[in-house]
């Protein structure tokens, strides 16, 4: 009799748990379905914001998000796997390559940067995307904390050993921070080598085929889609 009762109770509990699990899963799934397009839109917007920040506003007229390619080059991206690279054009002509690069040479963990270089090799802009450098010392690489990161604007890299592309302590042109040399040094060194590689492969990268079109078709760009609809 007692065994039967516990068996019955276990059954009830199992059914209850399943019911609760199903309802919870359903609610989470619904929220996911509802928010997924908005999240995707936010991500795209975030990338676009960062792209437009490193580019000079009136020098390009395409949406770089729709002009991308996957590049496998550890010298440029700092990663030994295909990484996305964006291309900005003006009137259909090449203007700049925007790429993300990373370095482990900082004081603490990975520093991720976004860089735009134009056809003549001039830096259009650099921004720090993420880092874990010491707050108050190494975090001056953020634009919000200091305008140090803009000191690269309009500079050119002559070759992989360009003597100006070092921090002042190493005999170059770029300031280090008081109390923090390792962070700026990591960034300057990474920029020097990656920009030099981009310069030597600029036309080659622009000749690569566009791999972003399918993404655009499903993306949230209301502009082009609306136009297509009206035609």
């Amino acid at each position: 009799m007692k065994g039967r009762l516990t068996k019955y109770k276990t059954k009830i509990n199992a059914i209850l748990l399943t019911a609760f699990a199903s309802v919870c899963t359903l609610m989470v799934s619904l929220t996911h379905l509802w928010t997924a397009p908005i999240i995707e839109q936010q991500k795209q917007q975030d990338i676009l914001n960062k792209l437009t920040e490193v580019l000079v506003a009136n020098k390009f007229d395409n949406n770089p998000l729709e002009q991308c390619t996957y590049l496998h080059d550890a010298d440029i991206t700092g990663l030994d796997s295909p990484q996305i690279i964006y291309r900005a054009t003006f009137d259909g002509k090449p203007y700049a390559i925007i790429y993300q690069t990373r370095t482990q040479q900082g004081y603490n963990g990975l520093i991720e940067l976004m860089v735009a270089v134009d056809q003549s090799g001039k830096v259009q802009g650099v921004r720090t995307l993420s880092h874990q450098e010491t707050p108050g010392l190494g975090d001056k690489i953020e634009l919000a904390k200091s305008d140090w990161i803009t000191s690269f604007d309009q500079k050119q890299v002559k070759d992989a050993k360009d003597s100006r592309w070092y921090v002042k302590k190493d005999g170059g042109d770029f300031d280090q921070f008081t109390g923090a040399t390792i962070t700026p040094r990591a960034i300057v060194n990474q920029l020097r080598t990656s920009i030099d590689t981009v310069n030597s492969k600029f036309d080659q990268i622009f000749a690569m085929e566009n791999q972003c079109l399918p993404q655009v078709a499903t993306s949230n760009e209301p502009g082009p889609e609306a136009q297509v609809g009206s035609h």
Partner: protein, 255 residues
């Protein structure tokens, strides 16, 4: 957890005492418990991990405070609504499932509508699930009270928690960076960029306030302040009591 158990024990006593006098709900007690007497951050010391980790700016603190508050209210309400069907054996897994679902929903919503804040709070949004304050309230209060009481309790506990977060976040941001509401646009939209106040400026940031040890020290000061006020009140009450006794004695002698 030991603090949690003792507080729940004392709580169980108080409502039952009140119930013998008046069957009506003691709203004042619920409010007082959440905001002050049994504050999840200051007295129960629950949810310390997110509390200490994200209070480096006022915006972050406010963001996590609101997220926790939302989860607390909704999970308390739901737990109280379903308590009739939940058997004793499976109540903990069910509570955790409810809380985890709501946290995931809040996380998705924050990802969709406050993207920047979502990035800056990072892992601490999903970690709300592990905030003992929430499962603690579900188990100790919501599963024993009516939905309305549970929701109000969640609101008050959440407010109490958020208040400590905001206090600590504000203090650390002022001491560390000399600003208030830095990055408020991440939470409130672009109009809030103007909310940022530069309280004062200094060459070098006060690192101790920004780094985690600063959170511990700040937290210590807040708890100390609370204990100071509580003690003062206790002394006052004792003084009142003793004067009352004296009066009574005098009355009897007169008679």
């Amino acid at each position: 957890m030991s603090t949690n158990e003792t507080t729940t024990a004392s709580e169980e006593l108080e409502p039952s005492q009140n119930q013998t006098e008046t069957p009506a709900v003691d709203w004042k007690n619920i409010i007082n418990q959440g905001l002050w007497k049994n504050n999840p951050a200051l007295v129960q010391l629950l949810g310390l991990c997110p509390l200490l980790a994200v209070t480096n700016t006022l915006t972050n603190a406010l963001g996590l405070g609101i997220a926790t508050l939302l989860v607390l209210v909704v999970s308390n309400l739901t737990v109280s609504l379903v308590k009739r069907w939940v058997t004793k054996e499976i109540r903990i897994p069910v509570f955790i499932m409810i809380i985890a679902s709501f946290v995931t929903m809040v996380q998705l919503l924050m990802n969709a509508y406050t993207y920047g804040l979502y990035l800056s709070l990072g892992i601490f949004i999903p970690l709300i699930v592990t905030n003992c304050a929430i499962i603690g309230r579900a188990e100790a209060f919501a599963s024993k009270h009516s939905p309305l009481e549970a929701a109000v309790d969640g609101l008050m506990m959440g407010l109490g928690f958020a208040a400590v977060l905001v206090l600590l976040g504000g203090a650390r941001e002022i001491l560390g960076q000399g600003t208030l509401f830095d990055g408020a646009h991440l939470l409130l939209g672009s109009w809030a960029t103007d909310l940022k106040v530069q309280v004062f400026e200094f060459e070098q940031q006060f690192l101790l306030a920004i780094l985690p040890p600063g959170a511990f020290i700040g937290m210590g000061f807040i708890i100390a302040a609370k204990n100071y006020f509580d003690n003062k009140q206790k002394l006052k009450a004792q003084a009142n009591q003793s004067t009352a006794k004296v009066e009574r004695v005098r009355i009897t002698t007169v008679n």
